[in-house]
Amino acid sequence: MSEANFETLPEQGHNKRISEFQRFLRVMFSRWVVIFGTIVIISDVLGAIFAPQLAPYDPNKISLREMIQPPSAKHILGTDEMGRDVLSRIIYGSRIAVTVGLVVVTIAGIIGMFLGLIAGYFEGWIGTIIMRFMDALMSLPPLVLMLAIAVMLGGGLLKVYVALGIGFMPTYCRLMCGEILSVKENDYIMAAKVIGASHVRVMFRHLVPNTFPPLFVIITLDLGFAILAEASLSFLGIGINPPTATWGAMINSGQQYLLTNPLLSIVPGVAIVLLVLAFNLVGDGLRDALDPRLRGRI
């Protein structure tokens, strides 16, 4: 009898884990907007990866005989002021958008979380300095701060990544610091310290893994907002590398041809809105699914 019990125990635990994950998925995808967002993100990522196969033309091929054409069978979204195919440039533009999101969130996440971890774990004067510094960064309009940093560093896509990374960092730092402050109070942290675990071990082995869920939500949302910020800078002509297609720069150059072909500015904007909206919807879905207070309600 007791033997049978032992054999069923791990099995039960296993089942419970699966159902927990299934519950998460069920809550997450219970609303159609989240499914819509996921589909948009997946198609954008696929579009970025398979751009050479999907784009009907070379995005940088100049054809002066076909300048600013309206949509036609040959060019579904028309052509721009240099006769380049707009659809192909939109597809290639998704490469910059998807990379910007990933790179910026990685930079901001790693630096921000690390500083937040230090501030939350040690508190004291070092924590105060870090957190007040974040307050100072947050009291500057993100766009102005990122613009200033990108320009001072000298432009170029890489510099824009760094500038955006710094601009997005404070959120991670604050959130991480708050999480660490609350997780730190748990008995198991005290236990780990008592048995002689080093600071580094306590931080990375016991604290960090327990802070992730709320950070996932911010990461998802920021993937979208980083795209928006990069589009603003490339719209202003900062960080772009002509002739590389970026959605922000396309909106800018189309601006002069609003009367002849408004699609030049409108289409890249729609691409931005769709992708950023998708990240927002998925981020919200994630938040609902991770929120313990909503458990069992949906």
């Binding site: 100072a136 309009p141 993100p142 200033a148 320009v151 900062i238 609003l258 500015s265």
Partner: protein, 314 residues
């Protein structure tokens, strides 16, 4: 109240001090020699030495900071390399225009956002809630500059209802001023309405669950009184304290819209300066905007601490 006031003032001074450090460091993250970047490759040795001395770059870094901040306190933000004018007067001349547009946009978007958020929360799960939530999600996803361009195209070029660019002071020609303002204010307000609506909705839902709301309901008060007198007033606290954050986003949008709609404000100046590598204007702009936002945050917090005693003891 006094200790709360003192604490907040000291906190603000610390943050403003750090804002000055950030602005100061901006000039120092320029790779290579900023003087050569400003003067170009063909500058003579004398010119380089002179500008370096003018900018104080020949001093040790701490002394540089002290001298720089000393000059700032005396109103000397340096001279623009492009306009050959004092940076301070360049910025302050344009400040009222930006302040005016940002305030109008802030007030309108806060009011509309709160109304939308409350309607959404009250009808939670219903059709209105879904529509407002989706609109709010879309609102934060729309690039301000794109919205301004689409607005210019539809209402300016196609329908001809609104002027497509420019700015007129309301004291000169009120009608024209309002007409020219509609587009830029609309473009900057939309994302902000979305942010405020989302915040109001979640804060309202949180408040409705509180015990005192249940008590108010169970003692037989009418639904409207419970919602607007008991719930809404408390739900608005996090919304209003969020003003500082929404303000930073509004200014970001304003900077872009001023460029598109050709409005002679600080935003357009900043972007021109950024593109012309007119570093001191960028530095001065960051410093002034950052300090202004810190002070506004302080005022918002003090007002709220004064209205709501709970804030003081947090």
């Amino acid at each position: 109240m006094a200790s709360f006031l003192l604490r907040r003032v000291i906190q603000t001074i610390v943050v403003v001090f750090l804002v000055t450090i950030i602005s100061f460091l901006l000039l120092h993250i320029i790779p290579g020699d900023p003087v050569i970047r400003i003067l170009g490759m063909h500058a003579t040795k004398d010119q380089i030495a002179q500008l370096r001395h003018e900018l104080g770059l020949d001093l040790p870094i701490i002394q540089q900071y002290i001298q720089w901040i000393w000059n700032i306190f005396h109103g000397d933000f340096g001279k623009s390399f492009v306009y050959h004018e004092n940076v301070r007067s360049l910025i302050f001349e344009r400040f009222p225009v930006t302040l005016y547009l940002v305030s109008v946009s802030l007030i309108l978007s806060t009011i509309i956002g709160i109304i939308a958020g409350v309607s959404s929360a009250v009808k939670r799960g219903g059709a209105i809630d879904s529509i407002i939530s989706l609109l709010a999600n879309t609102g934060v996803a729309i690039p301000t500059f794109w919205l301004a361009i689409v607005g210019v195209y539809i209402f300016g070029l196609k329908l001809g209802w609104l002027p497509i660019q420019g700015y007129t002071s309301p004291f000169v020609d009120f009608g024209q001023s309002v007409k020219q303002m509609i587009m830029p204010v609309f473009a900057t307000a939309v994302p902000n309405i979305a942010i405020v609506a989302r915040q109001t909705r979640s804060s309202m839902l949180e408040t409705i669950r509180q015990d005192y709301v249940r008590t108010a309901k169970s003692k037989g008060l009418r639904q409207r009184i419970v919602l607007y007198k008991h719930a809404l007033r408390n739900a608005l606290i996090p919304v209003v304290t969020l003003v500082g954050m929404t303000l930073t986003f509004l200014i970001g949008g304003e900077v872009l819209v001023e460029t598109i709609c050709n409005i002679p404000g600080v935003g357009r100046l900043l972007i021109r300066a950024a593109l012309d590598k007119d570093y001191l204007i960028v530095q001065g702009g960051v410093l002034i905007i950052g300090t202004a936002i810190c002070i506004i945050n302080l005022l918002v917090d003090i007002t709220y601490g004064w209205i709501d005693p709970r804030i003081r003891y947090k």
